[in-house]
């Protein structure tokens, strides 16, 4: 029953996404036929659903297929939102009003992203992650902005790298809508640290391309800030 419920839920989610093209709808139905294996795996993931409002310091499985990728994004947005909430609640020493306002905006954007994924994933959302910010000195502008830069650049590279793993074009556009906002954040934070470094050669290569990273590369970097163990082994490769 659990598996069937999860399957219905998936159909509802897909239906909620704007779909105008007949060909796309047909494609989705094919995906339904060929995605039988993935659906069973999703059903298994859905068993965690009752915990979705709680925080866990154990292990979470992101799941597989597009849902796995959305959970991966949800995990990163949880991390970013938690960071900026803390930054806004206890601003660093001598913060300027302009920086306070920028950081409050970014906090709200990250909360919007986090809550969007939570709402879109519904019962298939992973639980809340337990963060570990012990390496950050929240009283220090340098420490906070360096961490913000690391998170934003990481987020950009994560979405850039995840695009190719997404099969539903609507999810791809959604990821695209978010990644450019993360890139706007990254550029601003970099300019706050040092004017003119918004897209320097530490992130942009000789072809003018930004970085893209695989989920395992991203999660290895993020692990410093997350207590919960994230199992990404079922994500598409």
């Amino acid at each position: 029953m659990e598996i069937i419920k999860a399957t219905n839920k998936e159909a509802t989610l897909a239906d909620e996404i704007t779909q105008k093209q007949l060909s796309r709808r047909r494609f989705m139905r094919y995906a339904g036929i060929f995605g039988a294996t993935a659906t069973v795996a999703l059903g298994a993931t859905a068993c965690h659903k009752d915990k979705s409002d709680t925080t866990t310091s154990g292990t979470v499985d992101l799941g597989s297929g597009d849902i796995g990728i959305l959970n991966y994004a949800y995990a990163l947005e949880q991390l970013e939102a938690a960071f900026y909430i803390k930054v806004s609640d206890s601003p660093y020493s001598n913060i300027s009003s302009a920086e306070k306002s920028y950081l409050a905006d970014i906090r709200d954007h990250e909360i919007a992203h986090r809550e969007f994924f939570k709402a879109a994933l519904g019962s298939k959302a992973i639980p809340g992650l337990e963060v570990n910010f012990s390496s950050i000195d929240f009283t220090s502008r340098d420490s906070v902005l360096a961490t913000a830069k690391a998170f934003e650049d990481l987020g950009v590279s994560a979405y850039n790298g995840a695009g190719r793993l997404i099969t539903d074009p609507n999810y791809l556009v959604l990821a695209g809508k978010i990644v450019s906002v993360e890139a706007r954040h990254a550029a601003l934070i970099r300019d706050l640290i040092s004017e003119g470094t918004f897209a320097d050669n530490t992130v942009i290569d000789m072809n003018g391309l930004d970085k893209s990273r695989t989920p395992s590369e991203v999660l290895a970097i993020a692990a410093t800030y997350v207590k919960t163990t994230i199992n990404a082994s079922n994500l598409p490769k």
Partner: protein, 271 residues
């Protein structure tokens, strides 16, 4: 794996499936041909490419997208190359930033040209540009304020243009990734230009609030639709009881533009 059974299921889902191939036998033959050549694990991939060709995602459309992107990059590259070379236009403190942007746009041109050639296509020729947009921005290379306004409009258009084409690149994962890697660079540029305008007194932030142009009325088409706060059927304003304003909800998600919308925006800049 029972092949005939799969085809029967497809037939029930889409009765016209065989019109998309030549006929039923052709479809099965094609699939068997694939299956004979590829390892079992990659059968879903083979199926994917079969359906993509039957349902209209072809190499041609990828090349079309790349040439469309190339046209936009030509526009930006020539814009910044001219601006950085215009003496007295850009204040000393910002020359290095706009040189960085100029270089990226020229790198994008070179990258896209080689990608198009590598894919067997022919890069489109660079159009002749009119950066005054037929007299709308006559002092674009002599007045820093005007230059910044056009720069912001180009960068924000670029972000929306790449976003709108991502779905057309799904059949080629490497091209898709490269396009996404360019897309976020354009967004970094946009953020910097907007912050630079903000520092010069414009009412604008690094991100797009509602459909506000930031005091550039002729650029309204660049921002129309950016005030959207519904994503995939989910209302982002005050989502899940959080205190998220409509402004923040619109800022948190950038919106795509179709190719036609982008062409309508840039056509005044093409002689």
């Amino acid at each position: 794996m029972n092949l005939l059974n799969i085809f029967q299921q497809i037939e029930e889902t889409d009765p016209e499936v065989y019109d998309r191939f030549n006929d039923r036998r052709d479809a099965i033959k094609k699939f068997s041909g694939f299956a004979g050549k590829v390892a079992l694990a990659s059968i879903p991939l083979a199926l994917g490419s079969m359906f993509k060709s039957a349902y209209g995602q072809t190499t041609t459309s990828v090349l079309d997208v790349l040439n469309f992107a190339l046209t936009l990059e030509y526009l930006e590259a020539e814009f910044y190359t001219t601006a950085v070379a215009a003496s007295g236009l850009i204040p000393a403190a910002q020359v290095s930033s706009f040189t960085t942007i100029r270089d990226h746009e020229n790198e994008h041109v070179a990258f896209l040209k080689s990608a198009i050639t590598a894919a067997g296509g022919m890069p489109v020729a660079k159009p002749t540009f009119d950066f005054t947009a037929k007299g709308n921005f006559n002092d674009v290379f002599t007045n820093y304020t005007t230059f910044l306004a056009v720069s912001q409009a180009f960068e924000d258009t670029g972000v929306r243009a790449y976003k709108g084409q991502a779905g057309n690149l799904m059949s080629n994962k490497d091209v898709l990734t490269a396009a996404l890697d360019i897309h976020s660079v354009e967004a970094r540029h946009a953020s910097h230009v907007r912050k630079t305008r903000q520092a010069a007194g414009a009412s604008v932030k690094p991100w797009i609030t509602g459909k506000d142009t930031g005091g550039i009325p002729p650029a309204q088409a660049v921002y129309d639709g950016e005030d959207n706060t519904m994503q995939a059927g989910v209302q982002i304003t005050n989502i899940n009881g959080m205190s998220i304003s409509a402004n923040a909800a619109s800022e948190a998600f950038d919106e795509p533009l179709s190719k036609d919308q982008v062409l309508a925006i840039v056509s005044p800049f093409i002689s």
